[in-house]
């Protein structure tokens, strides 16, 4: 074998203190987070979640992402032959240490992947003060 085949990652279920009122399962989406000089980018894998089902909140350095599944009516009235994945909502929280420009956050949802760009606030440029000879 020259190339390793892609493996399925088992969905991790959210461990909560309180039981959810809705019977739907909640999973932790797998994410990529990378940073460059200008921004922090987060990619979250949320298959089955459409653009309208995504909610993002950022307050006080806490980033909260949620993906809500549309009700799964496909299964109704059909016999299940094989079930390898379960459907449910996606929830994950992060604490962001960088100062983020909240007004310029961009989010794109495509092919079940949420891309969130969090632009950093640039620190004020150091100003050089010249001293005049008195």
């Amino acid at each position: 074998m020259t190339e390793k085949e892609l493996q399925t990652q088992q969905k991790r279920e959210v461990q909560q203190n309180a039981e959810p009122t809705k019977p739907m399962k909640q999973f932790i989406p797998t994410v990529d987070i990378y940073e460059d000089e200008n921004s922090v980018t987060l990619l979250a894998e949320m298959p089955g979640v459409s653009k309208n089902g995504v909610e993002i909140k950022l307050d006080d350095g806490n980033l909260f992402i949620e993906g809500v599944m549309q009700s799964d009516q496909e299964m109704a009235g059909k016999t299940v032959l094989l079930q390898e994945y379960e459907v449910g909502n996606f929830i994950r929280k992060f604490s962001v240490s960088e100062t983020i420009d909240q007004d310029k956050i961009e989010a794109v949802m495509a092919n079940g992947i949420l891309k969130l760009v969090l632009p950093k606030i640039k620190p004020a440029e150091p100003k050089k003060i010249e001293i005049k000879a008195g």
Binding site: E3, K4, E5, L6, Q7, T8, Q9, Q10, T30, V31, D32, I33, Y34, E35, D36, E37, V40, T41, L43, E45, M46, P47, G48, V49, S50, E74, M75, G77, K78, T79, V80, L81, L82, Q83, E84, Y85, M109, N111, G112, I113, K115
Partner: protein
């Protein structure tokens, strides 16, 4: 590539629906626990359903674009293959977390019945691939009308 075989069609399908459902649930539970232990499975994860007219296969393929998915049906074997590529990113950036895996995948599934190859269709929406495979006419259940004399 791995092939999944379906269990033999149950003998008492019609007469024992509850028992049959219980048996399937047990099978699924066992399958799930063993899958957890091994820790890895072939990508993509599939759900397969059927009704009297068709077999439906759905796969979680988040991040895979339409051009990178190949679906083929040969006899009673469905093959899904493709590649998940990472999204383009700035060169100077550095990773804090890297959980989303990328790479090639290929998966073959033995279908439970004969398929009408002409009618196979597939859609990709929000990272879910849905394939609909209509059953061949000869395996569809036939309703026989009872005539009253």
């Amino acid at each position: 590539m791995s092939i999944i075989r379906f269990m033999d069609p149950p003998f008492f399908r019609q007469s024992w629906p509850d028992l049959e459902r219980l048996r399937q649930d047990m099978d699924r539970m066992i399958k799930r626990t063993t899958a957890d232990q091994s820790g890895s499975q072939v990508f993509p994860p599939l759900n397969i359903y059927e009704d009297s007219d068709a077999v439906f296969v759905t796969a979680e393929v988040a991040g895979v674009v339409q051009e990178n998915i190949d679906i083929s049906v040969e006899g009673e074997t469905l093959t899904i293959s493709g590649e998940r590529q990472s999204l383009p990113r700035e060169e100077k950036s550095s990773y804090h977390r890297r959980e989303i895996k990328t790479g090639k995948f290929s998966r073959a599934v033995a279908l439970p019945t004969k398929i009408n190859l002409e009618g196979v269709s597939a859609t990709l929406q929000d990272g879910i691939l849905a394939i609909s495979l209509p059953k061949a006419e000869e395996v569809k259940p036939k309703k026989i009308a009872v005539n009253v004399k």
